[in-house]
């Protein structure tokens, strides 16, 4: 029973948190082989070999695998699939792009965003924006699964798996990378941060969003946003938390000026402690908040910045 796990790699660097959480999920299924694919992937493969529970690392370095375009990456994974019963990855945008393509090429279903492993064929996954949890049993010979990383612990380091070089599959040549516009951030990465401070429509403007950032910096937190804040241009879209944005489950989530729509709750309601600051005491966010403060955020947030720590 072997598992092929697609490592999350950006610009040659391993996304350790996402990959290590997926390893925790994957090692319940069998021996984990990690595939590090990219234009440069050797260093990422080396880093992955140290994750506890990884038994082997395959490194596929090829210019066609740069930026992990779906077509050549899926072709590579399919070329390796014969040896594995499970093909898995953390549920990042990279994996959501590639794994359904892999599944269809193998004529199997994909199990998206699995939040729990029951056994080798049976998985739990949230549906309806996280308002229901479904347990599904796959009847497919091969299981293609993406794991919702926020529900799994990070696997430790200390392993020393052998690393093997492999070659890329033929590139179907259907797509080309043009450019990346990467949002610059010195703050912790949103999906792995221990503390997240999020702002919504109530913040009112891009300038006032600095208030949210100030509180985040005081707490060493990542900054998140609701769809309303992103659509209004207060915050970049990759800060969006929710059903269609990122799913987070930090130790502490502070929602400021966010009403708490179903779609936003889908992305944060597994946080350990939720704090809501909102001037509308009827806001649905108070139904999931452990600590709620009914107050004007423009008074409460500066006071909070001053009094914390």
């Amino acid at each position: 029973m072997a598992v092929l796990l697609i490592a999350e790699i950006t610009d040659g660097e391993l996304a350790m948190d996402a990959t290590a959480k997926a390893v925790t999920a994957a090692k319940q299924l069998g021996d984990v082989t990690v595939l590090a694919a990219g234009a440069t992937a050797a260093a990422a493969g080396e880093a992955a070999s140290k994750i506890d529970g990884v038994s082997k690392v395959l490194v596929a370095e090829d210019v066609t695998l740069g930026h992990r375009l779906a077509e050549p990456t899926a072709a590579l994974i399919v070329s390796l699939a014969g040896d594995y019963e499970h093909i898995v990855a953390p549920a990042t945008t990279d994996a959501k792009n590639v794994l359904p393509r892999v599944a269809a090429l193998l004529d199997v279903m994909v199990i998206s965003d699995a939040s729990g492993v029951v056994d080798g064929n049976t998985f739990e996954r949230p549906i309806y924006a996280g308002n229901a949890v479904q347990t599904v049993k796959s009847t497919d010979a091969k299981k293609v699964v993406t794991f919702r990383t926020s529900t799994f612990d990070t696997a430790g380091e200390g392993g020393s798996a052998p690393v093997e070089s492999i070659s890329a599959a033929d590139n179907p040549g259907l797509s080309e990378w043009v450019e990346d516009k990467v949002a610059e951030s010195d703050r912790p990465e949103l999906t792995s941060a221990g503390v997240v401070v999020s702002g919504g429509r109530g913040v009112g403007s891009e300038d006032d969003f600095r208030l949210i950032e100030k509180l985040a910096d005081k707490l060493g937190a990542a900054v998140g946003a609701s769809r309303a804040a992103v659509d209004s241009g207060y915050a970049p879209n990759d800060w969006q938390i929710g059903q269609t944005g990122k799913v987070v489950a930090p130790d502490l989530y502070i929602a400021v000026g966010i009403s708490g729509a179903i779609q936003h709750l889908a992305g944060m309601k597994d946080s350990k402690i939720i704090v809501a600051i909102n001037k509308d005491e009827e806001a649905p966010i108070f139904q999931v908040a452990d600590f709620g403060l009914v107050a004007d955020l423009f008074d409460a947030v500066p006071e909070l910045v001053e009094k914390i720590g």
């Binding site: 779906a70 077509e71 990042t92 945008t93 990279d94 959501k96 792009n97 590639v98 359904p100 393509r101 599944a103 269809a104 004529d107 279903m109 199990i111 998206s112 049976t122 949230p126 549906i127 309806y128 924006a129 996280g130 308002n131 949890v133 347990t135 599904v136 049993k137 796959s138 009847t139 497919d140 259907l174 797509s175 080309e176 043009v178 990346d180 516009k181 990467v182 659509d231 970049p236 879209n237 990759d238 269609t244 502490l252 179903i262 309601k269 350990k272 402690i273 939720i274 704090v275 005491e281 108070f286 452990d290 600590f291 709620g292 403060l293 006071e303 909070l304 009094k307 914390i308 720590g309």
Partner: protein, 252 residues
């Protein structure tokens, strides 16, 4: 160029779903249903391509229960030219899996020969985010997922995608499958005259058998449960009290 737009009838996004007590699924009887929000965005994009002279026909397709024709009429009222309904089940609770949907869509694509398929990035009921990618795979076509900008230039499309760290622009060879993200456009409302006119637009009814596809689920649903409830929280009276509570909880 013809544009094919798959649309799905799903529970309205504002409805708080109820899980059935026997664990058999979500209760969809007498619940408001609407077009999947992402699909409204793909219909809008297809119509804009037509208005810009880049598309000459917009065909919408839906697969599921017979009532999905309401969803197709909505798309026709927005500006689509004609519709195909594939009746694949008579029970609203039977959600056809993305792999099956992709196979039926492949049958339609083979027949209709569109230059572009515009899908929503995910359906808000099963939250799978897979059908577009699966269709591209079955066709052997390129794919551009989570699109926030689409520019068609001859036999290529330049698509900006919403990815984890920001935005990524790629160029794909046509024909292609594009899945759309929330920020691609603002869908229009259908006007009353257009709703009336839509009733006269052609709507073909088909079955999965017409495309040689058997509807069978690969994933057996063992149970559907409510997510774990959160313990009730408290309201604090001041920032001081909030800080104190957070310190007690060891959160700051």
């Amino acid at each position: 160029m013809k544009v094919l737009v798959p649309v799905k009838r799903v529970i309205d996004y504002n409805v708080k779903v109820r899980v059935k007590a026997d664990g058999s699924g979500v209760d969809l009887a007498n619940v408001k249903m609407s077009m999947n929000p992402f699909d409204e965005i793909s219909v809008e994009q297809a119509i804009r391509l037509k208005e810009a002279g880049q598309a000459d026909e917009v065909v919408v397709v839906s697969i599921g229960v017979k009532q999905s024709q309401e969803t197709l009429r909505t798309a026709l009222a927005m500006g689509a030219d004609r519709a195909i309904l594939v009746v694949a089940t008579d029970d609203v609770h039977n959600d056809i899996e993305p792999l099956t949907v992709a196979k039926i869509l492949k049958g339609i694509v083979d027949e209709e020969q569109p230059g572009l398929v515009l899908c929503g990035k995910q359906a808000i009921d099963n939250d799978m985010n897979a059908t577009g990618q699966m269709l591209a795979a079955l066709m052997g076509w390129s794919q551009a997922t989570f699109a926030s900008e689409v520019a068609i230039e001859g036999d290529k499309a330049k698509v900006t995608r919403e990815v984890d760290g920001g935005l990524q622009t790629i160029e794909v060879t046509m024909p292609t499958v594009v899945t759309v993200d929330l920020r691609l456009n603002e869908p229009r409302y259908a006007s009353l005259p257009n709703i009336m006119k839509a009733k006269k637009k052609p709507l073909d009814e088909k079955t999965p058998g017409d495309y040689g596809v058997e509807v069978a689920n690969r994933l057996e649903i063992l149970k559907t449960e409510e997510p774990a409830e959160r313990a009730a929280g408290i309201k604090v009276g001041s920032v001081d009290e909030l800080v104190e509570k957070l310190k007690e909880a060891g959160a700051v």
